[in-house]
């Protein structure tokens, strides 16, 4: 795409999208859509390097998680490989007051929120239920049920409106993550209806990674996904999900629209899941190797590295230092995951009721006594 070229808002051809960094590492100054919105970024060198560090780190941590699963230390893992730019770009566009609703693959978004990356590992290791305080981190718990978090996000966004926390540049906004497969779910469509009708301050961020497990996109939709938004009465836009700059710019604009009271936006981040759906999946059974190779050429990290190198923003020692730092973080993560304690059986009674319940308390007591009836009981 040439510099400054205009793409049509709702009429761009399939495959057309907002792109600010080409796969070859060429920077596009800005893109203006037919509704007159111009997308661009104006990062400092330090910010560019920060984004690169984010991308490399989340990929490295993800790689370690995949290895841990293969070594029997995690029950399952959903890899984000290939989707780093969509996650880091959108995640870095969030302001502290914004609330994110992830699926189970948003490890990159979690990282950009400043959260310790080990947080979701209890869930995947099976030593806790994956619960944390969403308000503390402004990051909801990982949601396994496909698409259901979009309704939670819509409700949260409607609450923001009711609290009067929109209508200014400091207003709050919500981002709801989901995949292309989730767009076939009733929940996602219901949340579109409600958000549209109530003008909720929400950004629907769809990472279209081309496959719903093994189901290809053409079995999910007859129109580009972002065009669905028009039917619900709010704008939709497609962005190059492998371009961290464009992902950032488009998400920031959509979030600002939301916090200013202009309602929802659907962003379709066009990307590709380079790995398996989860560690239980074998993508070679339904994808052609050539397709994967073609997407490899669009890798989000290598294009940014090329750009940084060309612009002399990043040099060899910087890249080496980033790699080493990511390795260190990965090893640290590994050791801490391996040290995660197994849960005591009695903890099953925790978190059933916020202030306890006589019945559950009695059950807990009976269970503790039962366990204590074994010789050498340590717990």
């Amino acid at each position: 795409m040439a510099k400054g070229e205009s793409v049509a808002g709702a009429d761009i051809p399939a495959g057309g999208f907002v792109q600010l960094l080409t796969p070859d590492g060429e920077r596009v100054d800005s893109v203006t859509t037919t509704d007159g919105t111009t997308y661009s970024v104006d990062f400092t060198d330090e910010e560019y390097r920060g984004l690169y560090r984010d991308l490399v780190t989340v990929r490295r941590l993800d790689t370690e998680a995949v290895a841990l699963q293969r070594q029997g230390e995690l029950g399952i893992w959903a890899s984000l490989l290939g989707q780093e730019a969509a996650q880091v770009g959108s995640g870095r566009a969030l302001r502290p007051q914004d609330m994110a609703f992830p699926t189970y693959r948003e490890h990159g978004v979690l990282y950009t929120r400043g959260i310790d990356p080990i947080m979701p590992f209890g869930l995947f290791r099976g030593v806790d239920q994956g619960g944390w305080d969403p308000n503390e981190f402004k990051f909801n718990t990982y949601t396994i049920v496909i698409g259901s978090q979009t309704l939670h996000a819509t409700g949260y966004a409607m609450g923001i409106t009711m609290d009067g926390k929109i209508g200014s540049g400091d207003g709050e906004a919500v981002i709801a993550y989901f995949g292309d497969g989730a767009t076939s779910q009733g929940e996602v469509n219901e949340s579109f209806v409600w958000s549209g009708v109530f003008n909720a301050p929400i950004v629907f961020f769809c990472q279209n990674n081309q496959y719903a497990i093994s189901e290809p996109l053409e079995r999910q939709t007859r129109v580009p996904l972002y065009q669905r938004a028009g039917g619900y009465g709010f704008p939709g836009i497609r962005v190059d999900g492998n371009d961290v700059l464009a992902s950032f710019a488009v998400t920031r604009q959509a979030l600002d629209n939301a916090r200013n009271g202009q309602g929802p936006t659907l962003i379709e981040a066009y990307t590709y899941r380079m790995g398996a759906h989860t560690s239980s999946d074998d993508p070679t059974r339904y994808r052609m190797a050539g397709e994967v190779e073609a997407w490899k050429a669009k890798d989000p990290i290598s294009r940014l590295k090329t750009f940084l190198t060309k612009q002399k923003i990043g040099k060899k020692d910087f890249f080496a230092e980033v790699d080493a730092d990511a390795d260190k973080k990965a090893l640290d993560l590994r050791e801490r995951v391996l040290a995660m304690p197994d849960p005591q059986p009695v903890t099953i009674f925790d978190n059933v009721y916020p202030n306890g319940s006589p019945e559950v308390d009695a059950q807990r007591k009976a269970f503790v006594e039962y366990q204590a009836s074994f010789e050498g009981s340590g717990h």
Partner: protein, 525 residues
Amino acid sequence: MSRIKEFNLPDLGEGLTEGEILAWLVKVGDTIELNQPIVEVETAKAAVEIPAKWGGVVTRIFHEAGSVVEVGNPIIAIDTDPSAGPLPTSSGPAPETPVASPTPATSIASSASSASSASSASEGEVEAGLIGGPAPGGRTAVLVGYGPRTTTAKRRPRSGTATPFTTATTPTPPPAAAGGSQAATVAVPPAPVVQPAPPVVPPAPAVPNRTVQDPTVQVAVRVGPVLAKPPVRKLARDLGVDLATVAGTGPMGSVTREDVHRIAEGAKQTVTETPAPVTAPAITAAPVLDGAREQRIPVKGVRKLTAENMVASAFTAPHVTEFLTVDVTRSMKTLDKLKARPEFAETRISPLLLVAKAVLVAAKRHPMVNSTWSGGTGEIVVKDYVNLGIAAATERGLIVPNIKDAGRLTLRELADALNALVKTAKSGRTPPSDMSGGTLSITNVGVFGIDTGTPILPPGESAILAFGAIRPTPWVHKGKIKIRQVTTLGLSFDHRIIDGELGSRFLRDVGTFLEDPEAAMLRWA
């Protein structure tokens, strides 16, 4: 910590039991790094590369490419600290040990794991049999996890008196010997497991008969785990059956509830009837005295609801039942007169109609009878309307549909409503709305030829009348003994609301009505 660590094939998907080694990417003697791909494994779900869990030198590869390995079995051993010098010979095979001979993986699994159990220092820090540890031999693959253990039981024995097996006559095994089943620790020393044993070995020599509770009676020794679901284990414990002595008939030889019942019954029979040793019949062919001749009916539907309602009612509302035997000859005559009337020509009427009318009239005179105890709000709810319930025996079981606001109906309407209600109930089409909201009920046990009963209140109601059979009976009538039509009424009521006086007055009014309905209608209605 040992230098040599064995890596066991993990469950690479969700609930996989085995994997096929496609290709080794390293060989014995190679120096490898953490996370370096070492082997390609194909499972039922995917072909994947497994990265090394530790860096070091490969000292042993357990299975050749092409082998199918059960999850949990070691596939590679790595010296994690090769710089520390040569290995002591006792801590594992020397690096130059050739790859294990490519015999079928299942047998390898047994021998290899037995070996690793014997030289347990070769496994990381994980105890044999625990998750992450080497797999004991002869295990049965299960869908999820590493499968049950077949060697010494790691389960801790129950302490104190909690277990029925620990009786005063049982010498408590020393803690060090705590292994194998309870029976095994008592009767025989825990045998070192060198090969998979059949599920049940022949019983030890017969011992003098004792009670079933005595562990020495059941001396059959199972080498290996007992497969049984937790509820079955509890049943066995409750019935005093040692699962180790039970030959399971369930999937994969697991012990089922029926097996436990059979042993429990068989043991009982043997104990009470024959002084012979009980072990053999208890294990193999216990006389089938129940099983085939017992029918097990799942409790569901109307039966389940009835049971719940009855239990709830019987144990929350204190029931009192009073009886009254009345001469209903005049009621029968009134019924005959009504049948002759044109307005009743096309409808079927029975004594139940007059009983229903009697209850409605009496309830109007004593409204407290038609009430509900609302414990939640601390109130008694007295109703100005009567939804008259009629207990009906149907194919699906007992149901108590009710006639809404029956007090407002004319006698003809009441007769029609009764007929419709019974007909609908018999056909099994009673809608749920007809079965809820009842306030006062009648159960017509007389249709079964029964004199009376002590009915249980439908939940939420405070009184229910049992209407018995009407029989020609010698009766003192106007000072003389005559043959009269006589029946017995039984009234159960909730004593929280209705005292004996009120209940008695209500029942007396129902009786007075039935003794002379025409006079009662003239006086009260």
